[in-house]
Amino acid sequence: MNGWLWTATVLLAVGFGPVVWAVATGPVGRRVVAQNFGTSAVCLVMLLLAQGYQRPSYTDLALVLAVLGPVGTLVYARLLADDLSPHPPHTNLLTAAAALATTAVVVAVCAATGPGRAMVKLLVTGALLVAGNVIASRAVSGGYRNAEATSHG
């Protein structure tokens, strides 16, 4: 169990553990925010496991999750709009935490892999994850709804 696997274990316990509890209880708004944060946490765990097991091909899992994770959250924001609109959850703190954690993990794993196309792939994965997370959590917390005062179509 090298350092990477220990970090993955800690991130799994501290980051993903509360998500499982938060998604099973409480109002719908908080559950969607928990699911969104869970996607980021597991994507980072995948990157750490790929580095811990010395298997660069595992980064494809993190890439697919970085691409599809936020899409899943947008599906909830879109199809559960009626349940979310009465009292939208506030997500700025959690999004900032996710972005910070993503930057830290991606920088650490990039430092370990060294320059090259593999590092660019990690940076792309990290960028996709952060962008998706920010937009999905803004969409969930209604950040765009009152900005444009769109009619509820």
């Binding site: 595992y58 494809d60 890439l63 936020p70 899409v71 998706g132 937009i135 709804r145 769109t150």
Partner: protein
């Protein structure tokens, strides 16, 4: 057949299954040990045909006939859904109302659609090299197309996604898999045997003989099948409604 009797039959059946499972589990090699009789043979055969992803070799080479069964299960499931979710006589089709979506979400969907599509195609193409394959990549490709529904509305998605074309693609993917199998037969060896193409050099795109081609066929079939499946679900959820109802409720 009283309820009590049925419970007894269930209990006896369950007990039998439990006993068999326990007996089988006792003879399994220890968890995490280094004795893998099946694994060693699979890896050996996979390396013999220069397929670096052993799972792809098992899926599309050593047990390709089972994957034909899996693919046909998906094909039949989507066929059943199309039949069940068709529009009945007392229902009518309503044009979906345009949905206003925030600009950042729309831009994100526009940027992510090609990127997700490319990721899906990458996962299909490299099925025999790295984790992935036709099934996983096909689902990613199909989900990528539906970013248009999330970024805009169902009317925009319908404009870019002719369902008839994808139904043909679904059938063509299934047929391609079968034709590759028969090609093995015509080539003088067995159905779905991997003796047709050269095995190429290890860890490159052309390695593994027919494995990449079977992967591509399954990828096309799964992508088209999921698009057709979602099309039927979206039709029912957004467009089709009972014509006898109050009638002014337009689907959105």
């Amino acid at each position: 057949m009283s309820r009590r009797l049925r419970m007894w039959v269930l209990a006896v059946g369950g007990l039998g299954v439990a006993a068999l499972l326990a007996a089988a589990a006792l003879r399994l090699p220890g968890f995490g040990g280094d004795d893998h009789p099946y694994g060693e043979r699979a890896v050996e055969a996979s390396l013999a045909r220069r397929t670096s992803n052993t799972i792809a070799s098992v899926n599309f080479d050593q047990r390709a006939f089972d994957t034909l069964g899996e693919e046909t299960i998906l094909f039949a499931a989507v066929l059943g859904t199309v039949v069940l979710l068709r529009q009945t006589r007392d229902e009518r089709q309503v044009r979906p109302a345009p949905e206003r979506v925030a600009a950042p979400v729309r831009r994100y969907a526009l940027v992510m659609l090609p990127v997700a599509l490319l990721t899906g195609l990458y996962v299909i193409a490299h099925g025999q090299l790295s984790p992935g394959g036709g099934f996983q990549g096909g689902v990613v490709v199909a989900t990528a197309l539906h970013l248009l529904y999330i970024g805009a509305d169902y009317r925009a998605l319908e404009r870019i996604r002719p369902v008839g074309l994808y139904e043909v693609g679904d059938a063509a993917g299934e047929a391609a898999y079968l034709i590759l199998g028969v090609a093995g037969l015509v080539g003088g060896s067995a159905f779905l045997a991997n003796t047709l193409l050269p095995y190429g050099t290890f860890n490159t795109l052309a390695s593994g003989g027919t494995v990449p081609l079977l992967n591509a066929a399954v990828g096309m079939e799964v992508a088209c099948a999921v698009v057709v499946l979602l099309a039927r679900f979206l039709d029912q959820a957004v467009e089709i409604e009972r014509s006898t109802g109050s009638g002014n409720d337009r689907g959105e």
